[in-house]
Amino acid sequence: MSPRLTRPAAVAALLVAMMGAPAHAADYVQAPGSSLAFATKYDGEVFTGRFGGFDTRLHFDPQQLDQARLEVTIQLAGTSTGNADRDSTLAGGDFFNVARFAQARYVAERFRALGGNEYAADGQLTLRGVSKPVTLHFTWTPGTPALLAGRATVKRLDFGVGGGDWADTGVIPDAVAVSTRVFLHPAP
């Protein structure tokens, strides 16, 4: 290796590579192949859905959890559950009301180490104009890309999702399971 460094071209290439390296190794952005899904049931019939899209920005270093910050923007329009009727109902005023609230947002700045590669983030979810605390439990797998695999429980009625005629928790439970697998590249 070292003899090669004597070659000017190799030195130049190395310098360019170093300049292109992230300003801070703990900053990440979402990579392709990431997923964010939810699961609940109607009258006992389980169904799952995917949001129209989402975007993650993460500052995370297991050694410096007090500096960590997670920011996720979720596109509610285009949420798909494998049934067009259900999707249009979800987009409508009784549920996400995408005409007024196109996005949901999750921001976490308090992180806890749970041992091993497990962590919890205590953040705020803003959905349908309501902000409430939601805890995300996740495992962190360093690498290129790194992987954040997490789960959270969101109480839909806290956010007015499925009110009125749909509020009966015997038909649609209050707790909705959200799961995510985010692949993360170092931020450019």
Partner: protein
């Protein structure tokens, strides 16, 4: 009126099947054509359940009816009916039987593949699913359901139109032998005596 079919008339069992299924199909069709206008909220889901439950009732009755038809046989066409009319009438009958079975099946498949919620027959018991949730299959099933309905309407018009034509213009027993009571009186020797 006998229970079984005779050479001249449809028996009580065949008539009961025929008219009960007519009423059920009519109710199912009226609900099916209008329920899409309702707000899609749980308050009105019972209307969809009623449509599906009536349809499954038609399916169950049709299976019994076909069993009876095979056991008790049909009634031959009234004497003097041209062969081509007999052939069309017979083909229409069997096509109607097939549609009255295929329509509920396609609806049931649509319900199953939609995977929206459990289907409880009139709220009494949960119907099994014919398929797991599958949007592609659900789209095909509902398209088939609608196509079969158009076909059913066309054949019902042909079938009922022929019955009325026989009754009003040919003035034979074709319709009245599917009606309860004695049907149209067959001229008896006494009648002939009175006239003369």
């Amino acid at each position: 009126m006998t229970l079984k079919n005779t050479r001249e008339r449809w028996g009580a069992v065949s008539q009961a099947f025929h008219w009960l299924i007519v009423l059920l199909i009519l109710a199912t069709a009226i609900i099916g054509l209008t329920m899409g206008e309702l707000p899609r909220t749980p308050k009105y889901f019972w209307v969809y359940t009623a449509h599906k439950s009536l349809g499954i009732s038609v399916l169950a009755l049709m299976l019994l009816r076909l069993g009876w038809r095979l056991y008790a046989g049909g009634v031959p066409p009234v004497a003097g009916t041209p062969r081509w009319q007999q052939a069309i009438a017979s083909a229409t009958h069997w096509a109607l039987y097939a549609l009255a079975v295929a329509m509920p099946l396609s609806g049931w498949l649509y319900d199953s593949a939609s995977g929206l919620r459990p289907f409880r027959w009139f709220g009494l018991f949960t119907m099994p699913k014919l398929a797991s949730p599958n949007e592609w299959l659900a789209d095909r099933a509902v398209a088939t359901h609608e196509l079969l309905f158009l076909l059913l309407v066309a054949l019902v018009v042909l079938h009922a139109g022929a019955a009325f034509w026989h009754h009003l213009f040919v003035r034979d027993e074709t319709l009245s032998r599917m009606l309860p009571g004695r049907g149209r009186r067959v001229p008896s020797p006494e009648d002939t005596n009175h006239v003369t």
